[in-house]
Symmetry: C2
Amino acid sequence: MSIGPAPEDVAPLARYRRAADYLAAAMIFLRDNVLLEEPLRPDHLKPRLLGHWGTCPGITLVYAGLDRLIGRTGADVLLVTGPGHGAPANHANLWLEGAHERFDPALTRDRAGLTELVRRFSWPGGFPSHLSPEVPGVIHEGGELGYALATAYGAALDAPDRIVACLVGDGEAETGPTAAAWHSTKYLDPATSGAVLPIVHGNGWKIASPTQTGVMSDDELTALYRGYGHHPIIVYAEIDYTEGAVADERLGVAMDEAYDRITGIQRQARSGRRPERPAWPVIVLRTRKGWGLPAELGGSPLEGTFHAHQVPMEDVAEDPEQLAALEAWLRSYRPEELFDDGRPVPAVLAVCPPEERRMGTNPAAVGGDLRRPLDLPEIADFAQEVGTPGTVTAGATAVLASWLAEVFRRTETTRDFRIVCPDELESNKLTAVLEATDRAFSWPVPGSAEHLDPAGRVMEVLSEHDCQGWLQGYLLTGRHGLFPCYEAFVSIVDGMVNQYAKFLKLSREVPWRTPVSALNYLLTSEGWRQEHNGYSHQGPGFINTMLTKKAETTAVYLPPDANTLLAVMRTCLASTDRINLVVAGKNPAVQWLSLSDAVAHCAAGASVWAWASHPAAVQERADVVLACAGGVPTVETLAATEMLRRDAPELRMRVVNVVDLVSLRTPQTHPHGLSEDDFRALFGDDLPVVFDFHGYPSAVHQLLHGRPDPGRFHVRGYVEEGTTTTPYDLLASNGVTRHDLAIAVLQRARGWASAGGDLADRYARQRDDILTHVRRTGQDPAEITDWTWGLR
Amino acid sequence: MSIGPAPEDVAPLARYRRAADYLAAAMIFLRDNVLLEEPLRPDHLKPRLLGHWGTCPGITLVYAGLDRLIGRTGADVLLVTGPGHGAPANHANLWLEGAHERFDPALTRDRAGLTELVRRFSWPGGFPSHLSPEVPGVIHEGGELGYALATAYGAALDAPDRIVACLVGDGEAETGPTAAAWHSTKYLDPATSGAVLPIVHGNGWKIASPTQTGVMSDDELTALYRGYGHHPIIVYAEIDYTEGAVADERLGVAMDEAYDRITGIQRQARSGRRPERPAWPVIVLRTRKGWGLPAELGGSPLEGTFHAHQVPMEDVAEDPEQLAALEAWLRSYRPEELFDDGRPVPAVLAVCPPEERRMGTNPAAVGGDLRRPLDLPEIADFAQEVGTPGTVTAGATAVLASWLAEVFRRTETTRDFRIVCPDELESNKLTAVLEATDRAFSWPVPGSAEHLDPAGRVMEVLSEHDCQGWLQGYLLTGRHGLFPCYEAFVSIVDGMVNQYAKFLKLSREVPWRTPVSALNYLLTSEGWRQEHNGYSHQGPGFINTMLTKKAETTAVYLPPDANTLLAVMRTCLASTDRINLVVAGKNPAVQWLSLSDAVAHCAAGASVWAWASHPAAVQERADVVLACAGGVPTVETLAATEMLRRDAPELRMRVVNVVDLVSLRTPQTHPHGLSEDDFRALFGDDLPVVFDFHGYPSAVHQLLHGRPDPGRFHVRGYVEEGTTTTPYDLLASNGVTRHDLAIAVLQRARGWASAGGDLADRYARQRDDILTHVRRTGQDPAEITDWTWGLR
C-alpha cells in the first residue's frame, strides 16, 4: 500500500475539518443563529463564554487523520484525548460521525440536533467544558493533566487488534506521569497486546508560557523519543489555515508510516520472532495554537500564541469590533457549504469511517459492555484452618497469593486480569502469583533476571503513576485488576484517584455506561510493620483520601487475618464501578477466624467477637468496648483483652472488630453504614469505647459523626511518630501497644477508674521494661513476638 | 588543567572506598568485633539485620569521586542522595570525613566512635535504616523515591557558586517526578544560579526486576539525556571490585569533564553571553549491584543481581556457611590496613577534602543557619479600604499580588524568594508579580512570549512535582518561597508533602537543625469558582491531607477576603519549620474586614462577627450559630444571615467566621487550638451550629472531636457534586446556597422548627426559581451575582 493520502483525499479532509472547527467555535460562542444564517448579533451569543479553543483545531486535525487511516486500513482505533479541555473539538467530531446521535436521540445530525449540540456545550445541565464520561468514546477526562498516555497503554493491553491513538498535549507532556509513561512499551507485548499510537500535540503554548515541546529543537525531540525507545515522526503543520490540506497530507503520510511500523512490529512478534527493542512510532505534531483564528485581535497577536488558549475573543458581547472579528472568523469556515439545513453535507460525512469503526462508538470505550465477570476460584480451597482463634499464624498476603495465582490460571485464555505493582510483588509476599504468570517485560534482560516474559500479566515498574494509569485504562475497557502497593507510597497517586473517583461517579449517572470492574488496591507493607524501613515508610493517609470520595464509589476494608482477606478480596474482584481499598498485613500473624466466620464477619462489616468478650458483656451491659480495625491493632487489642481477662476477670469487656471501615458511617451517608440498631448492638449508646485503629484517629472521628455521643470513642492510631526500631517500640511511640490499650481501657471502663489504677501502673511498668529490653537487645522480647491468644 | 585523576591519585581512592565499604557492611551486620579483630561469631551479629547493601558501594564510589573533584577544584559541593536506603554508605563517608564527629561527639574517629557508629545503625533509638534529617549533609530522605533531582535543582537556584551533586538511583529514575525534573535546566540560569551534576546510579536492578536504565542500550540512554537537553557521559564501572581503581579512574575522568563543562557554561553566561541551549552534563554510571560481594552464595548468584538489594546474607546467624562467607567478604576489605585502633589511617583520610569543603558539613544542608528573615513590606500599604462590611468588592489574590511584587523587589539583590507555579500565575490573578520579576526560562522562546527571562524568579512549569521539589530544595537551603496552585490539582504532590512533613517533624527534633522557612501553599481557583472548568477542577481534599500531619508542622488558613489574606500571608512568610496551607479566592468578591479587624481576626483564629449577628446573640444566649470558613461559604452565610435578619428579625443568630481552621481543634491536640473558654464563647456548649465549610464536611467533623457535643454541628460543604454550570447551581448541587443555609438554620434554631416552616418553604421556592432561571439563561440572576451586604 502506498504511503500517505492520495491527492484527491486531502481536500475532503480539509473540508471536513472546516465543518468540525466551525462547530467547535460555535459551541464556545453561540446559542442562536448557530448556522450564521443571519448577521451575528450580541443576542446570538451565550451570556457566559466558557471553553478552550486553543487545542481544538489540532484535535480535529488528528481526528480527521485517524478517520482517514481507519478508512484506509479498517483498523480498530480507540482515541484517548489528553487535552480534555479541547472538548468542543471532540463533540464536533462525535456529532459529525453520528456517535452523539447513537447515544442521545436529541443530537441528530440535522438542524435540531446541531442547535442542541451547540447550545448544550458549557451550559448548566448540558455538557461540561471538559471531556467527561457523558461524552461518547471517552475513557479519560483530561482535567488533571498527565494520565492520557498510561491510560492508553492500559487500554491496549491484551487487546491485540486494538490501536489506541493517544493525543498528548504539550502542556501535559511536561508532567512527570506522562514522562514516565513513555517507557510503557518496555512492558507491552506486541504479540498478545495491541498498540498505542501517541501523537504529541505540540502547539507550543500552555496558558501563558511556551511549552517545553515548543522550545525544544527537532534534534532534542528526536533524541528524547528515541531515548524513550520510540521512533519519532515530526509533522510540521504550522501553516496557514487556508493551506490546511498540506497539514492533512503531511499528517497522513506520518500516520501511514506509523501504522505500517505498528503492524510490522506486530507481524514480526506474532510470527514468533519478537523484535528485541521494538521502536514503536510516536508522531510529534507541530501546529499553531488556535489554528484558524485571525492573526491578531485589537493589535495583539492571537493565532499561534498563548492568547488563543481559552475563549479567544472575550469581549464579543460588548465590543462591536470583536463581534465583527468573531463573525468574520466564523464565516471563514463557510458553514453554508458544509451544512444543508443543519445536516452535514455528504462530502463532509464521507470522511467518517464506516459505522462499526467510528471512534466515538468504539465498544472498548464502554468497558462494561465488554466485561465478563471473573470466574473466581472458591476461597474455601485456599482458606487457613483456624480452630481456636488466635492459635495459628499465617501471612495474609501469602495466602491470598495462592488464590490470585489461580485467578491468573483461570484467565489464561481470556487474558483479562492483571496485577500492577511498583516493584513490590515479592516484598509484599505475593510471589506465588509468579507460579501462574510472569512479569511483563519486552526489552532484553540479563540472564540473572527471574520471572520476566513479554506475555506476563504482572506489571512491575517503579512508578505508581504508570501502575495506576495502566490499570485505569485496562478496567475502563472491560477488564479486571489489582494494585498491590506499599501503604505509605500509594498517596503518590492521590491526584489520579481523585479524578478516577470522579470519572466513576459520573459514569454511574450516564445511562449507557454499563458497570466496569472495581479498581482494587491491596495496601500492604503497612506502616506498623515498616519498623525496619522507618518513618518515611509509615503513612496510612490514603484511607483519609478515600473517605472524601462519594460513598457509592468507595469502600475501605481492613481484614484482620488471612481468611477475612480472602473473603474481602473475593467481594472486591466481583464488584463494579467502585474503588476498593484493602489494607492487609504481609507478615506472619495470628489468625482469628475460620472461613465461615470470616465470611459472616465481612458480610456484617463489624461484629462482636464473643469468644474474646466477657460473657456478660456480649449482649448485655458492658463496662467498656474494645474496638479494633486492622491487622496489627487487632493483635494488640486481643493481647490487651487477654491481659485484662487474666488480671481483671470482673471487667466486662466487649470486643468489636471492624473489617468494613465505612460500616461506621450512618446508613444515610454510606450504603455500607450499619443500621442504628446494629451500631447500638456493637457500641451501645453511651458505653466508653477504646478503639485501636490502623490509621490516623481522625479517620474514625469523622466517620462517627451522627452516631450517639461520638465523644465517648477514645480512638488511638498512628499519630506520626516513627523511625527504624522494633514493632513494639513503634507501637509504643504512638501509644498503641497492648499495654497502652489495657491502661486506656482501665482508665475508661465504667467503675474501674480507681479500681484499675494499680493494674494500670503495673502495665505501664511492664511497658517500660520491654522498651528498656528493646534498647538493649535491639529486638522485641519473645513474649511479644511469639504471642498467641493462648490463655483460653 | 588535565582531565582525570593522576595515576597516583587512583590507588588512594580505591583504598578509601575499601574503608567506607567495610564500614557500611559492618553497620548492616555487626554489633561487636566491629574491626574483625577476632574470628567472626554469631554473637557479634546484630540480632535483626536491617539495611540495604545493593546501592552502597556505588554511593561510596561517587562520594570518593566527588571528594577528589573537590580537592582538585575547591568546588562547593552539596550532595543529594536519591537512594536514601543506601544510608550505610553515607554514614561511612560522613564518619570518615569527620562530619559525624562535628555534629555528635559520640561519633569520634576512633575505636569508640567507630563502634558507636556501627552499632547505632538500624538500632532502636539509633540511626534509621534510611537517610533522614538526623544525618549530616542531608536535605532529602529518599524513602519515597523520585524527588532527589528536583530537590537538587531547588538547592542550586540563586546559589551561583554551588554545585549540587545528585545521585539518582536507577529505580528512582523510573518515576514520573524524576523524569519531569530532567527538564529543570530549561529554567535554570547559569549566570545567577549554581549547577546540578546529576549522576545516575545504574546498577541495573530494583528489588526484584531489572531497571529501565539497566536494560536500555547506551544509544538509548545517550539519546534520552540528549533529548532532555543534557550532555550524557556514560561511565563503565561494571568491573571486578579488586580492579576498582579503574572505576575511580573512569569516574574521575567523567567528573573532570563534567566540571569543566559546568564551569564553561557558567563562565560564558556570566560574561554576558548566555548559551542558547546549555547542555549540562549528566553522568550515567553503570556499576554492579552490591559491588564487592561474592559472586554467588549457596549456589545462587549474588553480586550484580537483585539478590544483592537488601541484606545480602540473611541467614548468617543460623547458617555457618553464610557466616563464613560474610567473614570472608568483610575481611576482603582488609580492615586491618585501614584502621589503626579504630582510627582511619592517614592514607584513608587523605582523600577527604579540607574541612570547609566536606560535603557532610556543607552549610547549605543546614538551611536554617543561612536563612535571613524576609524584609516583608507593610501590609497596610496594600490593604483594601473596607468601611461598612460587605459593601466593596475586590479580588483577594490580585491584592496579594501587589504585596508579593514588593517582596520580589526587596529581594532583588538577596535573591532568596521565589514563586513556583504550574502555569497558573495569570489564571490565579497573581500577574502583578511580573511587574517585579519575570518567569525563569533559559531556552530560546518565540517572540510572542511575555515576561520570560533566565534570571526571573517565578518558575512556571506544568509539573506540580517540579514545583514542589524545587521549592523543597530552595527552602531547605535557607531561602523563602510560595507555591500558588489550583486547589484541585495540588493533591498531585500529596506523596511529596507527606514526606516533607515527616522531614520537618524530624528536623525539629535534631538540635543542630535550625528552623527553615515555611513551605507556603496558596490554593486558589478553588472548586466553588471552577463552575466553568467543571467537576475535575473541584476538589478540596488537600485540607484533609494536611490535617493528618503532625500538629506542630501544619496550619490551614481560609481567609475570607483580601485583608485577611494579606494578614495570613504575612504570618506565613515569616514562619518557620511549617507547612502553611492558605486557601483564598481569585474572583472579585465582597470584602468584610478592615485591615485592623483582619489582623485581629487572624490572631484569634476564629471570631464572632458581631456586626452580622443579632445583638442579643453576640455574647448571650443565641438560638443558633451560623459558622463559616472560606471565601465562598462566608459570602453565602452572610447572605443567608441577611435574608434571615430581614424575614425573621426575632431569630437570634450568632455569626462566627473561622480563618485558622485548626483553631477548632482542642488546645491539647494543636498549638492553635482555641481554649475551652474561647471555643465556648463562639459556639456555646449545646447551641445548634450550622457550619458552611469550604471543603469536605468530614474535615470539620474530625476537628471537633473532644469539643462539647460535636453532634450539634451541622456541617455543610463540598459533597462531590459538580459539573460545568453557574456558581449558584454548583452551590445548590452541594446544598450550600444561601437559601439552603437559611433553611438549615430555620430547621435547627432553637424554637424555630415550626415557626420557620413557612419561611423555609419560601426560601426553597426561591431557590428553585433561581435554578429554573439558570437553566433557561445560562447564568445566575443579578440578585446573586451582584449581591453585597446591603441592608444595613
